[in-house]
Subunit: 143 residues, 12 copies
């Protein structure tokens, strides 16, 4: 099973960025953590990141017919990128949206996800463990 | 570790209710499924359900100092029950909000959760497996 | 043909409550009036009332596979109870929404019905005769 | 007792128009159906139709002191014609608003009736039987 | 100087219609009253009325190059007729909008005039004397 | 008959202020123009002006039982001064609201008058002649 | 003089619940405090609490013709319970709405009270002393 | 192939009306221009115009089973006529909405088309050439 | 203990102003009533009033380090004066907001208080007794 | 005549992406189709595509003084890219906005075009033929 | 070069007022600081302050033809004083709006400036140094 | 002191783009102008520009621990880029937002800055001199 983990803008600044919200683990640690767990779950995982909305779309399009699932943390694009919503719909790959923080207990504008309706499911507020939850959901046979 | 799984209105009609959205598993099956997994995870679980907003609050208050975590599916009350939001805040028990369907891809009014800001995290769209994801998040040491 | 007539909050205060709006007939009179007409129409009617949103849901769930039709006056819950909307959808019993007063000529917040989209039809403004109209619609072979 | 049944825009295309919503009965059938029932109820009925907002107002004004009741289906004008609202108020004839489909389970813009506050009552979702319900309400001594 | 006085829907029901708001003078009296004052002011006046939005537009178009001024009471069309707004703009005849009642102290929806931005000026709340104020404004050399 | 003409903020800068909107006549000219016409109409007129919202209220309160009518141009306070609205209501003196420009064809925020509902009538767009229209309306026996 | 003090959802968790907002006094202390003061004021007081919206309505209906006044803290139901608003209107007992915290300096959604328009008066922000203020207002001959 | 070109309110004042927006070509020229091009494209075209919303509906209904396509410029009715929307839906004739000016670069209220969702396509901003674009689209085999 | 009672616009017209809402007691009576009660409560009270928003701010600033509490009835400024809100915050004197009428059962715009979030508490609907409630709250040791 | 055809995000997934909406023609076919028609029309055409908002701006800037017209399908950026709006305005090249589907009959958020006000005209709903319509409009001497 | 520095409500409480937002420098220090810098820049500066909206207008009107520039900190009036907006427009003196705090990172209502559109430019968030920035902008030949 | 000056979309078209708004100075001139002033102020300045939202984020992230301050003109991204807001927050470098034109006197959508709350301060309307004001603010010891 091939899974693409795709991180959006500023996720690569984990551990530097507002630590009270996002925690102190840095981006390299996050990647290792995901990879270790993927290995444990016998998932073939690739992790990509971009700050550029359109590059995220490029990566999603490149995933077409190559990956079985996508785990996406669209960062701030969650809240306004109709283009990402369209991209996820375009490739017809089951996708799980992950947020590190609880987007419902922060600024009002973070409570609405423009991309979630194109996804299979969404989870938020579980810290970096949220990525593992998504991987395990995939393993459990997310239909 | 003691966990309360609390289901809100109409969840007990699972398997009867709009099957295209909620699936064909019935409520008894859901309860067994949760219990089996809880056992596997060495979680001491109680499952309760009520259609009455205030009874859900009663149950949450009764959980005070008795349970370590709450897993709640507030059903339709998700979208307007400030009283439930207050109840979750009142007992200071870390709580995970679970929805069977993806609330972001249905009617507009289902996209806003009034209760989620009082919770640790929220997940939706994973079918009944979502309850197990919540239990596993608890086991993983949700801080 | 079995019909459940279900009244929501404060309907039981008919004849006491704002008489200029709801009239002077009291709740017992209303029940008798409905029963007499049901008898005339060869309908097997049960009349229930609750002030509790969740009990109304309980009653609707209990009606599942027992009643052919529901006639409901959800009172104030009309305007915000998504849980009632879900309950009506859950049981798949054709339902008629009745309001004694014309909800369109009162406060702005009474003009929107959250529950009506789950119903077969809605009527308002005909006083207590509205209940009889609903029963006769049922007899006429509401498809 | 003289009753005017007044149909607004596109009602005359019944049976042609979106049959899944409005049914397959055509406008001539509707008129016969109303007339037969009116006769049964000893009501002296006239049925008029216009696609023109202002002609509907003309007809309502002509009804002044000639009819005891009006049964109106304002079609799409329901949702924006303040002029019709004023016309109904102007003639002081008790009026019942009828809709064939359940306006609450369709597009958002159909859920608000601009004309209903000027009416005695409103009913919707009962198909063409709704017209007969209105006539029977009139017979029952709608005060 | 030629002036067209144009009345919209339900104005012809003056004296019948909600007398507490519009007064007891009937439409014929209004016309005579306007004509007498026009004569006093040496204005060549024509008074027209229609309940039909598009006929009001027809009349405005017919006025093109025939009248120096228009005095219009668009009735309820004031609040939604962009078509009337366009018509007034199309003919480039200086136009005064008159309302018998004070539109600001009634229902919220009457407070916005869609047509007034196309007019030279607007006045409301002066009863039928408002028409005479408009005529006198014209005589005073409204530039 | 005693009439108070009350001008709000920036009206005293007539002839200096945005001449394309308000014209080139200065404030002294406006006052003379009003006084001459008042004399012609046998009205005993006082003209006052203030830029201070509360002083306008003071002047309105001082008018209590001293003036038969008020002609007010509240300037920009028109659009937000609930305090002025209250003051006009407090003294129960019939009041006419005048605006030099057509407030409906300018910025969106000028289209709503907070004070007009407390007035007998409102007129706008007639330039400084609007004040004379108000005085003549008073003479005509504004009831 | 008989007074019913009625507390809504989560008020019974006083002293446990968000202490920085609601203080450290617990619910038993609150009840004693109210009773002592009622005694001092020669008021015959009953104190009831429920987390269930409909039970609060039941209690209000039971109060009909038994109590002279109601002091109500509707908790979170304040902000959406039209059913409670209707109940207070139904029994025609003068009612005072009390809130422990200042609802205006918290979340935006707490600033609107749906129930207050049915009450005689409202007070908030005085801590538990607010209940005593309500009792003293009743004694002072609240008309 | 039979095509109905239907023009709404004030289109007949082309060449007179706001020339900076709509150009200097008059309505007769527009009709000739359309007819010449229709002939060139071997389209059997009829051109109709009305200022009356309901007459436009009448014309659309008359087109039923007589025309293969409709090209409509609903003028100002574009922005509020749900009745026209219903009419276009009723007849099931593929319809193209044309606007002479770019409705997106004018007043805010012109940016929303109420009628376009009932149409096959919409085009705006191409001047009178837009009608020819619609005809050519029809010829190109608009499916 | 020194307390400043500060009244905003139109409060000085008590007894003259809309008596059905504000009662028949005049402003002098109100002042005496407050003073008598202050004396009884051993409060050193000063009562000031202004119709001018900025003078109310001046008075609040002058109160700085001179008064222990402020009791304010900001009148209509309640609903829009951010400047008053800032002033109350600036002086850090605990302040109680009082309204004679129940602001929740009047016009929609009176339901929002812009100033209350800067206050300790707010009360409304108790008539002039509300001022005494505020004084007693102060005596009771409002912390 | 040199024309730039510029396609935004996900347009390159034509034929893969939601075929019920966008059709089965793939992107290469679209490009050939445009080129063939351009040749027929003696237009020198370049076709570019990017998923990146800012690259679309780069391409538009590069077009400055090189192309006579732009035909743009901004994809999802249509609905929020003020930056694209600014770019089109910056280069002063007459631009036509094309959408393959009818944006008015899909999700509400697709009905508003942020970029169209910077364009000469807009067309939607004609499938890929829409590009040819734009090219023909250019040939017809779009002024 | 003559410059008027004009401060609105509560600015004179600098150093007393919410120090975490506005800093600890008091108003006298601010004035000295401005004057010293003005001297350094060879600007002839006058500094005025008022808490009264209308007095600020008076001061602006007095500035007419006396000052070359105005530097204004309208305090809370920034957010609702259309009258100040009109005053700045009336005198045609180039004006710079200054805010000590960053109005964009505070309450939502502080983010909109009603007065800024009448100004040449606006700056905020630079503490009291913002006044000097405005003076230097003036010196730099603000065109 | 190292300062990064970062320009967003279309700023590089200065001198070409809407000159009545942005002036005639071109982008090279702007860069020289900034550099000369930076030199004068002993600031070590780098100037970068991108039309791509995500590249602006890349540049901001690269600035981390390399620059002491950022001066940013986010162009159109100001109004919707939550991702830029997050990026500025992520690097914790004090940032000043600069706009060449007065964003408050243009289209409504330009009045809200999404990025400003993440900045130290904002200034607009001073033309290209605004960049120098930002640099001088930095020199003045912006804390």
């Amino acid at each position: 099973m091939k899974v693409l983990v795709l991180n959006g803008p500023n996720i690569n600044f984990l551990g530097i960025r507002e630590k009270n919200i996002y925690g102190t683990v840095n981006y390299e640690n996050l990647c290792s953590y995901i990879k270790e767990n993927a290995e444990r779950l016998h998932i073939d995982v690739d992790i990509k990141q971009s700050n550029i909305e359109g590059e995220l779309i490029n990566i999603i399009q490149d995933a077409y017919q190559k990956y079985d699932y996508i785990v996406i943390n669209p960062g701030a694009y969650t809240h306004y990128s109709i283009a990402l919503f369209d991209a996820i719909k375009s490739v017809s790959i089951p996708t799980i949206e992950v947020h590190i923080s609880n987007i419902h207990s922060r600024e009002e504008f973070r409570r609405k996800s423009v991309t979630a309706p194109a996804c299979k499911g969404q989870l938020c507020g579980f810290g970096i463990y949220g990525y593992i939850m998504a991987l395990e959901a995939i393993c459990s046979g997310l239909e």
